[in-house]
């Protein structure tokens, strides 16, 4: 494996398990990076007070202060809304955990055991293979819809989806302000159906968790899902636009 050109990132590994800590350190070394180590969220916060890290590899399941809570506290610090980049590391690969991580402000998600190529990709800021797979799925779905109807039919669906999605997410916001979680859940459910049909798989995932969170009364997670779904709009939009112009290319 080639050594990255500018391995001058300041990296902190927060991990309670000694073997995993050692493993992460070795992997980073192999990729040409050095790192500092912390054994729990408290140590990670303290270390961040001393060194302005670029990246934290944050284990989610740690004693005293876990990765989720540590991230919440870091993101609440002045000037830390976006930096450092926080990478969730966890054996819990569930969709819900993924969404919770993004909702609290984590930037990336690595499943355990860590695969060195994935770690390298994340550190170099490369697009994750899952993101690429999602885009491929979306394009395939548009082709399928075109088969069901025709190009005009897909155009009609895209235009409805654009308007409705923005509107519904706005309504989720209004519902949240009124503390009406039932209404937010219904909206997420509708979005779930339309995004699935439109091939927007990440939006579908987020909305599924959003509906579940609304049913469980977790307003914070509902809010997080709303934000993530909003962030997903331009990504989906780009593919739709590209699809619309594909004949011209």
């Amino acid at each position: 494996m080639s050594i990255p050109e500018s391995p001058n990132l300041r990296i902190l590994v927060a991990e309670d398990h000694a073997i995993n800590r050692h493993l992460a350190q070795r992997m980073l070394a192999k990729l040409g990076y050095t790192c500092d180590l912390a054994v729990d969220g408290n140590e990670a916060l303290a270390a961040l007070g001393r060194v302005p890290y670029d990246v934290i590899l944050m284990d989610l399941d740690m004693p005293h202060l876990d990765g989720v809570e540590a991230t919440r506290r870091i993101r609440a610090l002045p000037g830390h809304a976006k930096t450092p980049r926080i990478i969730a590391v966890t054996a819990n690969h569930s969709d819900k955990m993924r969404v919770i991580c993004s909702a609290i402000g984590m930037d990336e998600f690595l499943g355990k055991p860590i695969i060195i190529e994935d770690l390298q990709g994340v550190l170099e800021g490369r697009r994750s293979p899952t993101a690429e797979r999602r885009e491929t799925l979306l394009r395939l779905r548009l082709e399928e819809l075109e088969d069901i109807g025709d190009t005009a039919f897909v155009g009609e669906l895209i235009s409805i989806f654009r308007t409705e999605t923005t509107q519904r997410l706005q309504q989720v916001g209004e519902a949240l302000q009124k503390n009406d979680l039932a209404a937010a859940g219904r909206l997420f459910h509708q979005l779930q159906g339309s995004s699935a049909n439109m091939g927007a798989s990440e939006m579908h995932r987020v909305c599924t968790i959003g509906e579940e969170a609304a049913r469980e009364g977790d307003a914070l997670l509902v809010k997080g899902c709303q934000r993530l779904a909003e962030e997903e709009i331009p990504l989906v939009e780009a593919i739709y636009t590209e699809w619309g112009h594909r004949e011209l290319l």
Partner: protein, 195 residues
Amino acid sequence: MKVLIVDDDLISQLVLKRTLEQSGHEVILTRSGTEALKAFQDDAISVVISDWRMPEMDGVELCQTIRSVRKMNYTYFILVSSTRLTPEKYAHAVGMGVDDFLLKPLNRDEVPVRLLVAERIINFTSEIKRLKTLLPICMYCKKIRDDGNYWQQIESYIREATGSNFSHGICPDCYTKIVEPDLRALNAIPAAAKA
């Protein structure tokens, strides 16, 4: 077939409608259980495809209500969901009369095939119903008139219609009424005559 779609999401409605029309079905769109029940008064509807989670009345409740409506022909009910159903929900839905399940996003190839199954089951149920309803039967010899206007022995009619075979025996009533007098008559004949 005439298919009733129930979904509160416009995109899901449109995608399903197109898919069904492409395989030659006639489609009625509704947005809620209440609207669906109103449209369901149309006797020609043979399949209902309903979303599961809807405000007011959900898909399973709609199915339950539809099952309580008496109709000439069986209505095939397909429940659509955006997430996989838990085993409990699955069992509950089947118990309430749901025949089949589909998952969003609806697959272009899957939906028409499911409708073929629906059509087959609807045909079977109406066939059975036709068999069970009035059969013209001769009041004297008990022959049955079939579709081709031929009078058949009841055994051969049923064998042809259902594939059942008959083993002939004698019921106690007929034994008393027919067999016993015959036996008595036989015994009454002097032994010499028999020999």
